[in-house]
Amino acid sequence: MDQLVFDPSKVMAIDHTRRTEYLGALLAYRTGLRTLKEVAYTPSLPDRGYNNRSLYVNVDTLEVTEKPVTQQMKDVFIGGRGFGLYHLWNAVQPTTKWNDPENEIIISPGPVCGITQYAGTGKSLVVTLSPQTEIPIDSNVGGFFGPLLKFSGFDALELQGKSTKDVILFIDGVKGLIRIDEAPEGPVDSHVLGELLTHLYAENDADLPNVSVVSTGAAAEHSLIGMLNFSFYDRRRGCVRFKQAGRGGIGTVFRDKRIRAVVCRGPKVAGDLNHPADPETIARTGIKYHKEIREQDPHQCMMRRNGTAHIVEIMNAYDLLPVHNFQFGSHPDTHKIDSSYWQQRCTQTTVDGCWYGCSMACAKGADGVVLKTGPYQGHMVTVDGPEYENAAGLGSNCGVFDPDYLLELNFYCDTYGICTITYGTLTAFIMECYQRGILNKERTGGLELTWGNAEADLEMMHQMARGTGFGKVAGLGVKKMKAHFIAQGWGDPQLINDIGMENKGLEYSQYMSKESLAQQGGYALTNKGPQHDEAWLIFMDMVNKQLPTFEAKAEALYYFPLFRTWFGLNGFCKLPWNDVVPADNSSQPEPQKVPEHVQNYVDLFTATTGIKITKEDLIMQSARVYNFQRVFNIRMGKGLRLHDAAPYRSLGPVTREEYESRTERYDKQLLDELGIDPAGKSTEEKMALHRTWRTDRFSQLMDSVYTRRGWTLDGVPTLERLRELGLDAFPEVVAVVKQFI
C-alpha cells in the first residue's frame, strides 16, 4: 500500500534502438509523388508568440492562401482551440455535416507553444465538426507539428475541401514553400507512413527532428472514431513516435477529405524562436520548474518513470478503475497491468518528452514488442505508453489483464488511427452486450466478445481497419450502435441506453463517475462530450468531501473547466500543472489549484506576449472561448440541457450485480441521504429508489452549474453573460442565443 519504489535493476533489458524498418518503400514513394500545386511564401518566426497570419489550404480547389490573424482574434480567442473554433465558425453553416466539403480541420498551437524552457509547451489544438457528435470537437495533442508550424510562420492551419485523390500537404518552413502532392499507392498506417514521410521530407539525418507528420490509419477510413497522429522524432531510439489527437473522429474527417498526411519541416529549433517579450522570466520559471520535477517527482507521481499509468493502481485502490464497462471499480488482476509492471517494461534510459524541455517526460515507450496478430504480425515495434487511459480502457474496462495483449491493442489503435479511449469504451459496451445476450456469436459474425478475450478484441479492430464484419459496426461508436441494436430488437432498449457510456455521441473516458456527483457533471456538462480534460473532481468530491453542496460543486464546475480550457488556448499540456506540486503546496491556500503553478502560467503568458494578465484574467480568457463554443453547439442544433443528459451507468448502479458489489455504500446512502431504511427491501426496490434520487440530484446539479456559468436553465448563455465577456461584439453569436431567450 505504500508508494511504489523505482528499482532500476528490474527494468527489462530491451534494446530500444531495434525495430522493424519500413524505409524499403522510400524510393518508390519519392518517385511516385506527383506535385499538384506548389506555392512559394516567405517564412517567418513568431514575434511575442504570434506570426500574425494563418494558412488556409483547400485540398479540392488547391487554393493556398495566407490570412491575417487580427488583433480581435488575439484579444478574444487567444490561439489554439480559440482560433480553431473561430475559423470553424466562419467555415460552416448550421446545416453543415462533418463530411461536407466546407467542414474544416484546424490545427493551431497557441502563443506560448514552442517555448522550450517549461514542461508541456508543444501542444496543438485540433478542431473540426465531429462525425460522432456533429458539433465542434477539440483535441489537445503533443508531438512537434504545432511548434514547427509556428516556426514556419503560421499561427494556425485550416484544411478545407474534399480531394478526389489522396494528397499530402507539405509545408517547408525553411525553403518557404507549400506543396500539395498526390500520394502514390502505399501505406496509410501511421507507424509506417510516419517513418517514410519523415525520411522523405527531411534533407538529411540531422534534419529528421525538424520534420513532423500528421497522419492517421486504415481504420479512420472505415469508422467514425478516427484520430490523428502527430509525430516527433525520437533521437535516442532513432525512430518516429506519435502523440494522438484522439477524441471525436478527427482522423475520420481527415481521410474523408482524402488527406493522407500533412508534413511540416521547420527550422532547427532553438530556445528563442518564439521571440518572447521577456525571455529571462521564461527561463527562470522553467529552471525553477525543472528543479521541482527533479526534487519532487520521485516522491510524488513518478511521472518520469511511469507516465500517467501510475494511477492504474490508485484508481483500483479507490474503487474507481473502470472494470467491465464501468460496472465495477476494481479487479484482483489489476496488478498485472499497473505501473509496477510498466516501469519495468518501458525503457527508462531515454528522454520521453513529446516536446523539448518537458522534464515531466510522461511519453513512455515500450520497445521490442513483437506483434502476434494482424498485418504486422511478427514485426518488432515500439509502443507508445501505455498511458492510464489505455491501460484502463483497453485493459480493465474490457477485462483484458494481459499486458502483452494490452500493448498490442494500444499499438494497433495508434497505427490504425483510432482513439484508444473511444475504442476501449465502445468495446466494453459491446462485451457487456455480449454478456447480457444483446449480442451473440451470430450477431457479431463469429467474434466471441467475452470479457478479456483479447484475440477477438484484436480481430474486431483488424476488421475495423479493413472495413469488414462486426468491426465496421463497432466503428460507428456507442451512440449509433445503441440505436442499431435497439432497431434490430436485440435487447431491452432501456438497458442498452443505460449501459452505453456516451454523452453527446462521444464515449466516456476511463474514470468511474458513479459515486461522485461533481464528476457526473464534470463529464456530462462539457462542451465537446465526456472527456476528463474539463474537470476531474472525483477526489475533491467523493474522497475529500470538499464539495458538500450543490453550490460548491457548481463552483468547481465553473472554475476548473475554465482553468483547464486555458491550456488549449495557449499550447500547454495539462499534466505539468498538477501531476507534480511544489514542496510547500500543502500550506498554500486552495492547494487543489496549485497556486504556484497557476502563477507560473500567468507569468509565462505575460512573458511571452508582453500582455500583463492576472489569474482572474486567465479565467476570463477561457470563459470567452468556452461560452463561444457553447453557443457554437447551439448554433449546430445541440448544446441545450437535453444534450447534456447522462447515461444512467455514469450516475448509478444499473444492474443488480453493480448494486450488490457496493451494497454497504448504497444501503447507507438510502438511510443517510433519503432517510429510508433499506432493511427488508429487495435489491430491485433499492435500485429504483437510488435511480430516482440520483437522477433528481443530477438535474439539480445542472440547475446549479448552469446558473453559476451564467446560462439559462436550458443551458443557453444569457445575453448578460455574453456582454460581460465581450461576445456581444459578434452579432451572429448574439443571434443564435436570442432564439432561445
Partner: protein
C-alpha cells in the same frame, strides 16, 4: 475503543495510532496528500511517527493527477 473522524467518516482509534496507520486503514495510496490532524498540517516524512489522539478530526486531502 475510541473513534476519530477521517474525511467526515468515523474510523476506529487505538492507542499509538499514527497517520500512516490511518492511510493503511483507509487504503489511501495516492502519493499527493495533504493531511491535517485537528487542523495541524502533518509533513509527509512524519506520517509514520505522528500519533493521532482519540476523537481527532483528520482531513486527508487528495490532490489531482492524471485526469
Amino acid at each position: 475503543m475510541g473513534v476519530i473522524v477521517v474525511n467526515e467518516e468515523p474510523l476506529g482509534w487505538h492507542e499509538g495510532m499514527t497517520v500512516r496507520d490511518i492511510l493503511r486503514a483507509k487504503n489511501y495510496r495516492f502519493p499527493m496528500l495533504i493531511i491535517h490532524v485537528n487542523g495541524l498540517l502533518i509533513a509527509k516524512p512524519d506520517y509514520g511517527t505522528t500519533t493521532v489522539p482519540d476523537s481527532a478530526i483528520v482531513q486527508v486531502i487528495h490532490l489531482i493527477s492524471g485526469g
